[in-house]
């Protein structure tokens, strides 16, 4: 981002952001200068949205022990190795930290679940979860990592739902990161010219294009020629 431009947007944002804060919490003394230095502000969000993000970034949810335990847990869910990067390589725990503040309904389940893990580990192995051996950790996970999808989640044990919550967010956090998208192999989000499904893919899935349908579709070699029609609406360019 161009520094001059970013300063301009920050200044604009600070005034409105300050107003928004004072509007929401009458009497709250929030120095405008503090908001003005917010590095998370971007022009593609509104001032109010920027302020909300900055507020969440200023809060802290996981304490050091919880963050360390989460790191161990998320790396068991998506471990690193010769072929793949780990959840912590993709900074999954900071993402979950943000989401816990963004969707506060998760907080009790996350925090309570981490306490459950330590209690279980202390009871069975005499040590908290993060310090247990990988074998011991996995033996705990084996008891909570599987579920019957035909049983509604409201009827599944708490610790199973806790693990599903962490697994879901580990998966999302990882596969929405740069390394996760690369691993998945998603090829989009860049300018291109769509000209149909490749033949080998059609063959693999046992479908084909009908010639009559294709005849109606865009001829990509003429896409830059300005459209003209006859009076009946037939494209003639």
């Amino acid at each position: 981002m161009d520094r001059r431009k970013s300063l301009k947007s920050i200044v604009l944002g600070s005034v409105a952001g300050g107003l928004a804060i004072n509007g929401c919490k009458p009497g709250a003394e929030t120095p405008v200068e503090e908001v003005a230095l917010d590095p998370t502000a971007v022009k593609w969000r509104t001032d109010r949205e920027n302020e909300h993000v900055a507020e969440l970034e200023r809060e802290r949810f996981f304490n050091d022990h919880e963050a360390a335990t989460m790191t161990v847990l998320c790396d068991l869910i998506l471990p690193g190795g010769a072929e793949f990067k780990s959840a912590s390589d993709a900074e999954v725990v900071p993402f979950i930290e943000f989401m816990a503040k963004d969707i506060p309904q998760m907080q009790v389940d996350l925090r309570g679940g981490l306490m459950w893990l330590d209690h279980k580990s202390n009871t069975e192995f005499g040590t908290e979860f993060k310090s247990a051996t990988e074998e011991q950790q996995k033996s705990i996970l084996d008891g909570i990592a599987y579920y019957d999808p035909d049983v509604p989640s409201s009827e599944r044990p708490f610790e199973v739902n806790f693990f599903s919550l962490v697994r879901n967010h580990t998966m999302t956090g990882f596969y929405t990161s740069k390394i996760g998208i690369e691993e998945l192999g998603y090829k989009g989000n860049m300018p291109n010219v769509w000209d149909g499904v490749p033949q080998d893919v059609l063959d693999q899935h046992g479908v084909s294009y009908e010639p009559e349908w294709l005849a109606k579709c865009v001829d990509q070699s003429k896409r830059n020629i300005v459209a003209e029609w006859d009076e009946d609406g037939n494209l003639i360019s």
Partner: protein, 573 residues
């Protein structure tokens, strides 16, 4: 606090910069008029590299695009949503209506689905066909020339199919179907449901030298940096600013009311500038309201004067009545034949579907009077918040364990990537007088403006239509080889119908008609009660059709704006 008056007298003051207001701005400015455009939100230009969200990656959002703040996710280009802090609305008698507002230049056109369907001949005269609702005072033939002009100016792809109630237009060529759409074609045909290339306003081919051509990122909901899809800001307001007229943009300005003189004619508008929270007045010969059907009704009902004691244009007490939204219901299926996909290619395509099914049924043989069209979704989309949730739940179809941890989750994510197909029905509801918005006498927003209170109920016709949708979806999804997910929603779930307002096709609040006792505007969208006030959003719609409303808003706004130019020339206003 004194109200600050601007001494300029505009030829026209246009309230709102979406499809209706944008088109009025373009037509009036092209005619050389001096217009003021008053928009409640900020300036927005998706060509601004810092303001655009197009081509951003999920990791540029700390919530990875989750919908915590914007209902369609962080990268969706509609500022606002169902709830806006400081701008509430209320409900009556325990009924529900969810009102989506987007305050920004271009309004909701920055994120809409670009499904651009003309209404057909039957859609303007449905009462004559089935006895429900009312006929429009105009016919398809009155609107056709304007649909043609909109097609040529803005651009819409599609194909000539010669279907009676889905008229052809001046189409750009459509893109080829994606893989999951080939499956849909197969399943729909087996079910007896016809399928055609969709009709959407993206430029698959150059339409002029000011706008770019689609580069197939699939992100039209984020607004296009090369202006290759239709948004009112990029395709109407910006060109209007380059025309021979004068266009003064007033952004972050919320219109409170239309002001009138002793004879009850409009003199302009009063608005609140959000930046200094002060009230201002603008003067104009004509006031053109395009604030959205409900916002326009609100402005009119709040414009009370000795000359218009029930609100402007409301001597009939019809303003706010006959509010209706499209019906909507959705279903999806897991398709085993779409498993283990090659990720060797980019199938983002245009934003949304490449194929669709217009209404095919004969309502005289069904237990509900109006139809719906089917929209199709699926494919290997860009991951965002929610990707990988319940990653291997489809294992249940193969009798293998669900859940787990470790590298198996990676292979499961890839195995099932792109193996979902979803269908959405979007249908016509009947317009009822008892579905309405009115002013809530007990509540104001943070700008001190009285807010809307909604009263809305679906009728048995919408319920029966929704049942038909789910029956049809199950057949199509089964016939394309899918395992239908979820169960058929029953009475307790309103048969799967979305809450009214959720499809964001609010229309009907200032309906047009020849009789001033039963309508708000005449067939030129001119208030019966004040001839220099026009409504160019979807308020004047008498009925919705099983189409989307934007293309008709554009055509009708063009038609009304030409009438305004003509009447100004004749000094009739």
């Amino acid at each position: 606090m004194q109200i600050i008056e601007n001494s300029t007298v505009y030829d026209a003051i246009i309230v709102g910069s979406g499809a209706g207001g944008g088109m009025a701005t373009k037509v009036l400015a092209d005619a050389g008029l001096k217009v003021a455009v008053v928009e409640a939100g900020p300036f927005f230009d998706p060509a601004d590299p810092e303001q655009k969200t197009q081509l951003r990656w999920p990791y540029e959002s700390p919530r990875r695009g989750a919908s915590t703040v914007r209902p369609f996710g962080d990268f969706d280009s509609a500022y606002g949503g169902w709830e806006i802090e400081g701008e509430p609305y209320t409900h009556k008698d325990g009924t529900k209506f969810d009102w989506f507002r987007s305050h920004m230049l271009g309004g909701r056109t920055n994120h809409w689905g670009r499904i651009s369907l003309r209404f057909g001949p039957d859609d303007f005269k449905h009462k004559s066909i089935d006895g429900h609702g009312d006929d429009w005072p105009i016919s398809y033939d009155d609107v056709k020339p304007y649909y043609d002009k909109v097609d040529k100016m803005i651009g819409v792809f599609g194909t000539k199919e010669n279907i009676h109630n889905n008229p052809d237009g001046f189409f750009l060529p459509p893109p080829k179907p994606r893989l999951h759409e080939l499956f849909y074609i197969k399943g729909a045909r087996k079910t007896g449901v016809p399928v055609y290339p969709s009709r959407m306003s993206m430029l698959t081919k150059r339409i002029n030298n000011d706008r770019g051509v689609c580069f197939y990122c699939g992100q039209c909901s984020r607004a296009c940096q090369v202006y290759a899809d239709f948004s009112a800001g990029t395709c109407l307001i910006f060109p209007a600013q380059k025309s021979r007229g004068q266009v003064d943009l007033f952004v972050n300005c919320v219109v409170r009311e239309v002001t009138v003189d002793d004879e009850g004619k409009a003199t302009g508008v009063s608005y609140i500038n959000k930046e200094d929270r002060k009230e201002y007045k603008l003067k104009g010969k004509v006031v053109v309201l395009g604030a959205s059907a409900c916002s326009t009704a609100r402005i009119l009902m709040n414009s009370k004067s000795p000359q218009h004691p029930n609100g402007l244009g409301n001597s009939s007490d019809i303003v706010g009545k006959y509010l209706h939204d499209s019906t909507g219901a959705d279903r999806m299926a897991f398709v085993p034949d779409l498993m283990n996909r090659k990720v060797s290619y980019n199938e983002d395509g245009v934003g949304g579907m490449h194929v669709y099914s217009p209404w095919w049924g004969d309502n005289s043989k069904l237990d509900f009077p109006r139809g719906y069209h089917i929209e199709i979704w699926g494919g290997m989309g860009m991951p965002s918040y929610g990707f990988g949730f319940n990653v291997n739940e489809f294992n249940k179809f193969f009798g293998t364990k669900v859940g787990g941890y470790g590298d198996v989750l990676r292979s499961d994510a890839k195995k099932y990537y792109g193996a979902l197909v979803g269908l959405s029905g979007r249908g016509e509801s009947i317009a009822y007088k008892d579905n309405y918005c009115e002013i809530d006498p007990n509540t104001v927003d943070e700008w001190g403006i009285p807010v809307l209170r909604f009263h809305y109920k679906w009728s048995e016709y919408e319920h029966k239509q929704a049942i038909h949708m789910h029956d049809t979806f199950e057949q199509i999804l089964t016939n394309l080889g899918g395992e239908v997910l979820g169960s058929k929603p029953g009475k307790e779930a309103d048969y799967g119908l979305h809450t009214p307002g959720r499809i964001i096709h609010e229309v009907g609040t200032t309906r047009m008609g020849d009789d001033p006792r039963t309508s708000v505007t005449n067939k030129y969208q001119q208030l019966h009660d004040a001839d220099n006030v026009f409504v160019v959003d979807a308020g004047p719609f008498v009925s919705q059709a099983d189409k989307n409303c934007t293309w008709t808003i554009l055509a009708l706004s063009w038609r009304a704006s030409e009438y305004i130019v003509d009447q100004l020339k004749k000094q009739n206003l």
